[in-house]
Symmetry: C2
Subunit: 409 residues, 2 copies
Amino acid sequence: MEGDPALRLRVFDLNCWAIRYLSKRRQERIRLIGDMLRQEDFDLVLLQEVWSERDYSDLKVKLGGCYPFSHYFRSGVIGSGLCVFSRFPILDTLLYQYSLNGYPYMLQHGDWFCGKSVGLVIITISGIIFNIYVTHLHAEYCREKDAYLPHRLVQAWELAQFIRHTSKAADVVLLGGDLNMHPEDVGIRLLRGWTGLRDAFAEATHFEGCEDGCTLVPNNCFTDKSELLPFPLGIRIDYILYKAISSFMVKCEELKTTTGAAPGMDVPFSDHEAVMATLHIQRQGQAAGATLATAEPMLVDVVTEARTEVAVGLRAAQRQRYSSGRMALLALLLLLLQAVAALGALAGLDAGQPFPKLSFCLLACLAIGILLLATGLHLFHTMEVKMLHSTEEQMRMVLRTLQECPSDG
Amino acid sequence: MEGDPALRLRVFDLNCWAIRYLSKRRQERIRLIGDMLRQEDFDLVLLQEVWSERDYSDLKVKLGGCYPFSHYFRSGVIGSGLCVFSRFPILDTLLYQYSLNGYPYMLQHGDWFCGKSVGLVIITISGIIFNIYVTHLHAEYCREKDAYLPHRLVQAWELAQFIRHTSKAADVVLLGGDLNMHPEDVGIRLLRGWTGLRDAFAEATHFEGCEDGCTLVPNNCFTDKSELLPFPLGIRIDYILYKAISSFMVKCEELKTTTGAAPGMDVPFSDHEAVMATLHIQRQGQAAGATLATAEPMLVDVVTEARTEVAVGLRAAQRQRYSSGRMALLALLLLLLQAVAALGALAGLDAGQPFPKLSFCLLACLAIGILLLATGLHLFHTMEVKMLHSTEEQMRMVLRTLQECPSDG
């Protein structure tokens, strides 16, 4: 591509659903993904939910010939699950772990243990600096009553802020990942509005794949059909977004998704469909400058909407902090009462029927257990309150700036 | 300052030692700090250990007239303690929480609960873009056997990476804070070498204050004299560092420190001395480019040294992960044995002397307690291993790049 004024970049993005012991036919699918990536000549491969480092290493060995450069982002207890394979040298990397990511006691959801993050890798191709971001936001388990919406909005906000602050020297910004948000959701509008990123699906000249670009479709044998009942076509939650910062222009020539099982195979690559974009990057005469995709009055509305949701989450977190604190205090009180009773008994002051020793000890153990648990919860919800409060304040500051001097937005 | 080609910037940095209920004469000192800041006309004030948001609000009210712009960084359970006051509008902020920061069970040290972070605020003065960073790294409790050295090195590395990635559009970069490292320590050399930041104390044309620029001195009535015994002059752990990125030149005209109690007062501002720098910023003909302060062969040595220390920490964390995992397994085994015994007793299979009920229940409670605690520890040390491993790998990658193509370093 050297010397060519126009650059064509093929990007592959997939949530691989590769959870050890839990994901069906994991090893077989990882093998299939590796085979396919080796056959197709993408320039960049952005993967999520590669939770096992062994799977990453296997892919690395298999793809070493065609994608000699790669990076795996470690984080949390299990790992971020994020990795990148590239045909071009990776010059630098950075990981930003989201400050909120669900609750450690929601074991059945488990997002907290993954340390959800955004990973950045920097590459240059023909002198053009690319900032490539890969991420995976908190899952949505119940759309009607989405308890994780404030956390996901904090993540979307931190993602946008991280991109804005780290991409100032980039010529082209590219974000791929499972955002766990529908295209019209407030988090996506916030992310796009505040960063100026454009949606490859919406911008693509040519599209081929699942209807409406859906990436979680009933046609895929691994998806939960009952969850998709309200969406007969499926939902679109995996994205490739991009923008050019300086004097470059990016166009999405073609966007494709997989459509369930690939031809000649009985198993899809994952429960998600892969998103594949062909981008056309060209140097243009004058610098475009950093522009926001959303008109400012609309951006004000989006930030206001997001701030309202974060404020709702803040109040819920404050209530939980209060209840857990009260529970800890009650347990402490019970323990103190027991200590007084025990001392009284030792001093021979007890009158009437003595409390059975066994029940007394069990009660004390229970009180200690509740005290420790409630204290832990209280600390956790204190942190949650801090981060929600901080995000809400940042959004308020941005709103003030947007409203005061709209031209500087 | 508009239209003036040279800019003079006065920066104030102080670790305020304002821990509610613990720090001596806290409110009085916060009042004194506020009074002094109002009298002196600094341009930027970078504070650490302002743990109480109430103290921040009091300062904000008091300083509103002379420093109309300010930001408080919230993080962790207690808060990051970081805040910034500025005479110039704060355009944007970002917080990066370090991935490692001590241990939650080291209650007597408590660093973990603070969510140690680096805060970034962006301001422009006369069209010059300033990226201002404020931070506070993990404390050093025992210099001879510093168990927190690997964590502090990870923090220094993440600080350097965060600065490198977020400052690419800045004209001037400024870092102030309590780094908890002596000037010759590997962490400081790593930070300076990898970012190109220069030490205001070493560069100052004129210096006034504690000998050797020390900021923790025996002369201060709040410092622990026994800790400073090996250092009769005190130690220097609070810094103002800076660099110009593009076509600007920064010089430190003057550096001052406070020297224990201020004249006419019987109480110092804090147990740390404040650092005050007057910087001279001038536009210069050609762009200086992003240069590293340390020559590359020396940088290779520094990164190698840091990597060795991180690897030592990694091995210790792996050992702790292993022991806590083994402990959890043993507790689980004990519980299972008890369950079998209880079931046996219920089925009337027990022969001989029965185990007393009270001891049996207490043992079960103990086993459950150990199981929960050991599992928590195991998860924590798994995260620790992940982050140390990740940092070690990043350093290895940087070393390879530095050694392979030294001119691109």
